[in-house]
Structure formats: C-alpha cells, structure tokens
Point group: C2
C-alpha cells in the first residue's frame, strides 16, 4: 500500500474503504506476529520500519522508511519506528454453544473498548457485538488499549439491538434494581447488553428484548462503576 494511503488509515472512512488498519509500536506488532501464527489472514500484514528496527525479525513483508515518512503515517507524536498495516480479518468460530455474546450499545470511549477487549481475550469464550454509533474497534486508540487483544476476540459491527431477540435465547442487562450477579440465572444467559457510558441502553429496547436485570451490589457512595469495569466483573463472574 502507498504511504499516502497508509496515512489515511487513521480515519475510519478509509479503514473501511481499504479494509486495513494500523498496528503501531513494538509490543503490538509482537502480539500481531504471535496471533498471525494461528491466523493466516494476519500474515498478509505489511510492516514499515525505520532504521531503529532494521533488524526486526518478522514474517511480514517489510519496508524500510525514513523517520520523516514514519512521522507522516504514524498516529503518535513520537513514533517508535515500527508500524504494521493489517487487513481486516475474521476469527475461527468457537462452538456457538460454548460462546457468550457481549453487546455494547453506542460505547464511546476508545480506552473502555480496548480494556473490554482485553478482558474478553483474557477470559476467552466471548464474542463482542457493537451497535452502530459505537467507537470503531480499529481506531488506533482502541487497538493500543487492547494491547493485542483485538487479534483474539471475534467482533461484529453495526449489530442492531433489535436483532438480539431472535438470535439469543436469554438476554441480561445491568440495572440498579436486579438480582445480584452471583445469582445462578446470570450464567444461564447467552447475551449480555451494556449501554453507552453516559446514557445506558434505552429502557424500551430492554423491555422489548425481555432482558433480565442484574445488579453489581455496591456501597451506594457513588452513582456508577466505569463501563469497562462493569463488563469486566460480569465476564469474571461468568468464567468463575
């Protein structure tokens, strides 16, 4: 891919057009290379390096560029000097019966989504569904916060919340009034719905889905947990 086009991958519009995204920095590229061992699609990644990484061992097609060129394509202020251009990929399905879905409705914060992907990859056995209007998971900030987890979690984009009712047999959501997470019914659901950081999920949608409400019991000192923390606790409880 030409440098001019690679630079454009900082924007969602062009990521979708070219079906590629940026993976920047030593740690993320290492995670990508490890993941590529089990996912041939990722082997189509191309690597751009500056002199500092001239001797970097990689199975990918590698191009040496100048620091000035790197600064142009990179999203960061002080680029490390190593950046991969990676094709959109799909992940092998887990047996559907062993998999649970985490549905995120209009999640906005890239750090939250990255942290959630990291928890889903850590525990395993989860698929991440994103509504339209959510932050793009191929956004460089999400990729960075995911610390490589993005290469391991099956993702679906633009999933309509109304489609969940026909696809899943039991849907759970978090609410102030609900059964505690440790209730046995929590584990019997196959889809878990979480809302936008500020607005949550519209109540009428939850009612239509007949979502069962669960609560993370708290002291009452503050209004809410961080969204990524809430997802994280649910995922832990499900794999405990």
């Amino acid at each position: 891919m030409k440098l001019d086009d690679i630079k454009k991958l900082q924007q969602k519009k062009y990521r979708n057009e070219f079906q590629h995204f940026l993976v920047e920095g030593e740690h993320l590229v290492l995670e990508l290379q490890k993941a590529a061992q089990h996912n041939p699609a990722l082997n189509q990644s191309e690597l751009l390096v500056t002199e500092a990484y001239e001797n970097w061992a990689s199975p990918f097609k590698t191009t040496l560029i100048s620091s000035k060129q790197m600064a142009q394509v990179s999203d960061t202020k002080t680029p490390q000097g190593i950046l991969a251009v990676t094709p959109f990929f799909s992940l092998a399905q887990t047996a559907a019966s062993q998999e649970r879905a985490i549905y995120l409705h209009e999640i906005q914060d890239p750090g939250n989504l990255g942290t959630i992907l990291r928890s889903l990859a850590w525990f395993g056995g989860f698929r991440c569904l994103l509504s339209a209007g959510s932050v793009d998971p191929y956004n460089t900030k999400v990729v960075r916060a995911s610390m490589g987890a993005i290469f391991h979690v099956p993702l679906e984009l633009d999933v309509d919340i109304h489609s969940l009712g026909t696809r899943f047999h039991a849907i759970a959501c978090l609410d102030m009034q609900g059964k505690p997470l440790r209730d046995a019914q929590f584990r019997q659901c196959d889809c878990y719905v979480f809302g936008n950081e500020a607005r949550g999920v519209p109540h009428e949608d939850l009612a239509t889905l007949k979502a069962q409400a669960f609560t993370i019991p708290g002291s009452g000192a503050i209004e809410s947990l961080n969204l990524a923390s809430a997802v994280n606790l649910c995922v832990y409880e499900l794999t405990r």
Copy 2:
C-alpha cells in the same frame, strides 16, 4: 485563593504547597457538594463560575469570573465554566477490622488510578495506599476519571512497601502462578499489592513481605489484564 495561585494547582508541587486541588466540571462539582454534606472539610471548597453557571446552587463561597479567566485556570481545552478549589481532606476511619488495604506500587496511568478509586468507592470498605513515584491522585485527570470517587476513598501517599510487613498480617499479590482468586485464603488477607502497569512489583519485595500469590485464571491468549481491571476483579471477589 488568587487566580494566579489557582492556576498553579495544575502542578503537583503547588498542590502540595497550597494543600488544595482542582475539581472541574458540573458532574464532579455536584459529587463534591454531595460528599461535603458528610465531610465538613470539603465545605471549605471555593467555587469559580462563569456566567453560564451564575445561578448554580452551592453551599460553597462562589466567585463569578470571566470565560477568559476560566480558560486560564482550567486544565481543559473547552472549560464548562464551573470549577472548585478544594482543600486536601481526610476521611473518617472505617473500623480497621472491617477495612482492607489496596497498595499500588508506582502506578503511572491517571485513568487507571481514577478507575480503581471508582471501584473502591463503589464496593466500599477499602483504603488506597500509594507508593512514592505513583501518579498523584489529586492530578486533574485522576480526579476526573474517578468521577467523584476520590471524595470517598481513604488515601495514603508515599507509603513505603517495606512498611506493609509490620502493619498488616497477611499480604496478597497477583502472579501467573498462584491460587485462584476464589480460594478462601484470598479473603483472609488484609493487604493486596499491585504493581506498576509495565514492571509489576519487584519479586524481592514480595518475598520479603511473604506475600501470598493468587491468579486470575485466564485463557492464555494474551499476556495480561489491564491493571485497573485486575484490581477491580479482586475487589469484587472480596465483596462477593
């Protein structure tokens, strides 16, 4: 306090000198006002507002300033127009026997610390100890990420890791090899040690403390959980 001095509170050095910190934005000021009902020290806060917040109801001494002045004292690019200057405060002790300590060794990321404080406040019954070299909890980014939790969690700064051994009877840490969190012994500790995002805690310090190792069982797909996620899960397990 003079505007020139208030502006300086963006820096740790001056926060320590003046023993005050900044609480910016409508949501945080509301949380501060709620917390002040139970903590008279917080009532010594002073409020600065622009015309947009001229009619804001507050028990604090309130000063109207211009948008230009607000831009000078604010940490954000587009200030909302409401900012409190709050004295350092202490929180009433929980009975020590009912309280557990979370020790953070050289934590760096303000978002992580804010998120951790939010979890500790949510569940209640925790004290947060920070080592020297940790991010300052009165940093505006931490205060913002805490969403007001900072007003509810007892904090101790510059706590030496070696002092934990005499102060606590059983210390826990996370490690790749350890008993699972749900093991009964995990709850029997009274201090939980977590390390820097990249480097963890020095192994020799953990050995000296005779820290018991526990593990958050995972799939093995990625190397680590986010630090705030790990603390969050431990705190959940302890209050489950």
